[in-house]
């Protein structure tokens, strides 16, 4: 079986390399990919359409905002599925915990807890910075959410899971993840109800005191906030459920 797998892998690699010869040359203006109006539009007109300097963010959150919505949904699904599969319910939850052989509960380490206590506020501030700065520099909802989620995981690592769950319980995390999707899809639905298509942020200029372009700009920030909510909550929920096999006590 291993040999077959190896052969398949090698064959795939050869195919990929064979096809790679055929790629357009670096910076070839005549290739269909470079000549296509789509790339030109992204490069030339992003600022005109949306006022966002970072065209990656504009493509991600506006031009292809529908994809990004479903990518957020994928993360949400991951969280919900992990909870659905692992979470102990009913009689299961009352059963004695599966103790591993001669397991010793680790107690919080003085040095680690003090460092983490010092760092967590800074990390959360950095998360907000990354989230809000997505329009001009790399960053945005996904990255900011990951950093924010990491801060909660850090608390759970330094002390134990209950301490982190005092700050963000798993039930509340699921709600937060849902709220994130609601924010994203809600902005889309709201712009649809205002007369545009789904996710047509420009229509929000009817209710916001800004131009159509700036409406896109601000709606993108709102959308990123929704993404950050979902990512933060799901990261923590997955960690909590995986590290305790769905029992939500003790922690790693």
């Amino acid at each position: 079986m291993k040999k077959i797998a190896l052969a398949v892998t090698v064959l795939t690699g050869i195919l990929l390399l064979y096809a790679a010869q055929d790629f357009p040359a670096w910076g070839d203006l005549q290739s269909p990919a470079s000549a296509s109006p789509v790339s030109k539009h992204f490069i030339a007109d992003t600022g005109v359409d949306t006022e966002v300097p970072n065209m990656v963010t504009a493509v991600l959150a506006d031009y292809r905002g529908f994809d990004t919505m479903f990518e957020t949904v994928v993360i949400f699904i991951a969280g919900i599925a992990i909870i659905g599969i692992l979470r102990r319910t009913g009689a299961d939850a009352d059963a004695p915990a599966l103790k591993r052989e001669n397991e010793i509960a680790a107690e919080p380490d003085l040095i680690v807890t003090n460092t983490v206590r010092l760092l967590v506020p800074v990390i959360q501030l950095f998360a907000f910075y990354v989230l809000a700065h997505g329009h001009v520099s790399p960053g945005g909802g996904f990255q900011g959410g990951v950093i924010m989620g990491a801060s909660f995981i850090l608390v759970a690592l330094a002390w134990d899971l209950p301490k982190a769950m005092d700050r963000l319980s798993v039930d509340r995390a699921v709600m937060l993840a849902g709220v994130g999707i609601l924010i994203y899809a809600g902005i889309g639905l709201f712009s649809m109800l205002l007369g545009g298509e789904f996710l047509d942020y420009a229509e929000l200029s009817h209710v916001l005191p800004v131009s159509r372009e700036m409406a896109r700009y601000h709606a993108m920030l709102g959308v990123e906030i929704g993404v950050a909510f979902t990512v933060t909550a799901v990261m923590f929920a997955i960690y909590a459920n995986l590290s305790t096999r769905g029992r939500l006590e003790g922690g790693l």
Partner: protein, 109 residues
Amino acid sequence: MTVEGFTVFAGAALFVLMLPALYRVAVGPTSFDRLVAVNVIGTKTAVLLVVIGTLFGRLDMFVDFALAYALLNFVASLAVARYLNRTRSMPAKKPAKRRTPRKKKARAS
């Protein structure tokens, strides 16, 4: 020697000096040795990101990457240390060499 030349040199040197650490990751012999080496590589990757940022002239973007990377590296090494500390199967009364497969040693010597 220009600043640009030095930057390229520093980046290359960082990369080359990561190789001994990579050797430690591959060879072990205990999983803690591997972890130390992974931690070193992680920290140095954050530094390498800053170096690359200087080279590209887009340090404003790359410092954010580096900070996020250093943060995640810290979380990862804490998590693994915590995991290994928790899942040991014997109390530490009698220090015993574990996680050191004999066969590997024989092959290495």
